[in-house]
Structure formats: C-alpha cells, structure tokens
C-alpha cells in the first residue's frame, strides 16, 4: 500500500499519523500546512490524525516574506 506525498509515492503503514510522514520524510521547516485528501489537518492534530490508505498528502512549506 502506498500514499502520495507531494506527488511522490511513499509506503503506507496501518495506524500511520501525519507526524510519521514528517519524521520519515525529514521535513524540517518550522511552519507547515498539511492537507490529506484536500482536507487541512491542523498542527494540533498531527500526532493523532490517521492517514488513510491511498491518501493524497500535500505538505506545504510556509516561508516568511511578503
């Protein structure tokens, strides 16, 4: 089973949480927005939100400047 993270395939595991993706992919940006199948997952839910099989995940870096 796989999920797609920013267009790249990644192995899915039962019980996988948003935080696991961030750890496995080694995302180090402090400010991120995560969307799972188009739905925003708030930072407060990153440790509890379960990633469904075949999920489409977007990890968006937020960078200062404007």
């Amino acid at each position: 089973m796989n999920i797609m993270v920013n267009g790249e395939s990644m192995a899915w595991q039962p019980g996988m949480k948003v935080r696991d993706i961030l750890n496995i992919r080694n995302y180090t940006f402090k400010m991120l927005v995560i969307k799972v199948n188009g739905t925003l997952v708030k930072r407060a839910q990153w440790d509890s939100y379960r990633i469904p099989e075949h999920a489409e995940v977007s990890v968006i870096h937020l960078i200062s400047g404007g």
């Binding site: 402090k30 400010m31 991120l32 927005v33 969307k35 188009g38 739905t39 925003l40 708030k42 930072r43 977007s58 968006i60 870096h61 937020l62 960078i63 200062s64 400047g65 404007g66």
Partner: protein, 205 residues
C-alpha cells in the same frame, strides 16, 4: 463618470464583467504582497476588496510596496486606500486597521469569496490558513510562500491542494543577504491576483 466607467470596462470579456463586479476579495496584509495584489485587482475593476493591516508606512517599505515617500508614517490601510482611489473609483474598498488573529478572520473576511494571504511571517501565514480552511472549507485561499531574492523566474509556480493555492517557489527563505525585492514580490503578488481571477472566471469563456 458613467462614460469613463463604460470605457474602463469596454475591453473586458462581457461575460466576465458581472462576475468581476460581484466579486469580493479579502487581502490579509497590505505590505509587499498585499499592496501589489490590491493595485492589480483594482486595475481589473474588481467589485470589492476587504483589506486589513495594522502597520504604518516606513521608508524600508518603499523598495517594493505601493506607497510613496509622502506617506511615511501613515497607516498602510489609509495610504493604500488613497492610492487605489487615484486609479479609479469603481472598486468598493473596505479597510481595517487591525492585526489579524484567529478571532477576527471570520468577522472581517467572512463575506469574501476568496481570501488572499499577504502576511510577512510564516507563523501568521499558518494561522490564517488554519483558521480560514476550518471556518470555510469550500472557499479558496491563495497564499504566497517563497519569494525572496532575485532571479530564478522559472522557480515561481502555483500549486493547488483542494481550496488552498500556493504561489511562490516554496523554497527561498529570508536569511542573511536574501531579502524580499520588488520584482519577485511583484511577480508573486500578481500570480496571486491572477489565480483569484482564474478561480472567479472558471468555466466562463
């Protein structure tokens, strides 16, 4: 003035005009991104803009923001309103001199069809996206992320994830000698404005 108004809109696709005139777009922040987005959207003849910013015009803003030397010390919302009104009077401008937080996003921008994020810090960008997407899961929000530095035009892009659109290179951080400069800030602001029009006119030819 009616003749001027007719002329102003005379080159637009007639099918776009009613959509444009009924559109209400929010701009959170009136700095580098926000002031440029506002000028572009007023140029299009958008119906209404809701713009919020707490800050005042400083000399360092003049390198990329749509303000003038004579406006130093004025609130950004007052200065921007006066500059936008000089372009034409056909866009309704609702200005809020306030710092946007979790509590006031909905009361200030709730009536908008689309929200454009034009903040400076990554923390405030995250707050705005989380608040908007939770309150309005079906309404678009267009974010700028990664616009500092010079060159590398082709790294600037728009990515969509559901109702969230991200304009920028998503890479270049502000650090050391990499600062936001007029060309890339202007490009990303105009990408945001262009993206908003694309959403408004979707399916109309």
């Amino acid at each position: 003035m009616q003749a001027i108004k007719d002329q102003f809109f005379s080159r637009h696709n007639p099918r776009f005009i009613p959509i444009l005139r009924h559109a209400r777009i929010g701009i959170a922040g009136a700095g580098g991104l926000g002031s440029n987005v506002a000028v572009t959207l007023v140029r299009t003849g958008i119906g209404a803009l809701v713009i919020a910013d707490f800050d005042r015009v400083e000399a360092s803003n003049l390198n990329r923001q749509q303000f003038f030397l004579s406006q130093l010390g004025e609130t950004k919302v007052d200065a921007l309103k006066s500059n936008l009104e000089k372009i034409h009077p056909f866009t309704l401008l609702e200005m809020h001199q306030i710092r946007i937080n979790e509590e006031n996003v909905v009361p200030i921008f709730g009536q908008c069809d689309i929200l454009i994020e034009a903040f400076d810090t990554a923390e405030s960008k995250e707050m705005l996206i989380e608040t908007w997407c939770s309150a309005f899961p079906k309404k678009p929000i267009i974010v700028g992320s990664g616009l500092a530095g010079v060159g590398n035009n082709n790294a600037l892009k728009t990515r969509q994830s559901g109702t969230l659109y991200i304009c920028g290179d998503e890479t270049t951080q502000l650090q050391g000698r990499i600062s936001p400069m007029a060309p890339r800030v202007g490009i990303v602001a105009n990408m945001q404005a262009n993206c908003a029009l694309e959403i408004l006119f979707k399916g109309i030819q």
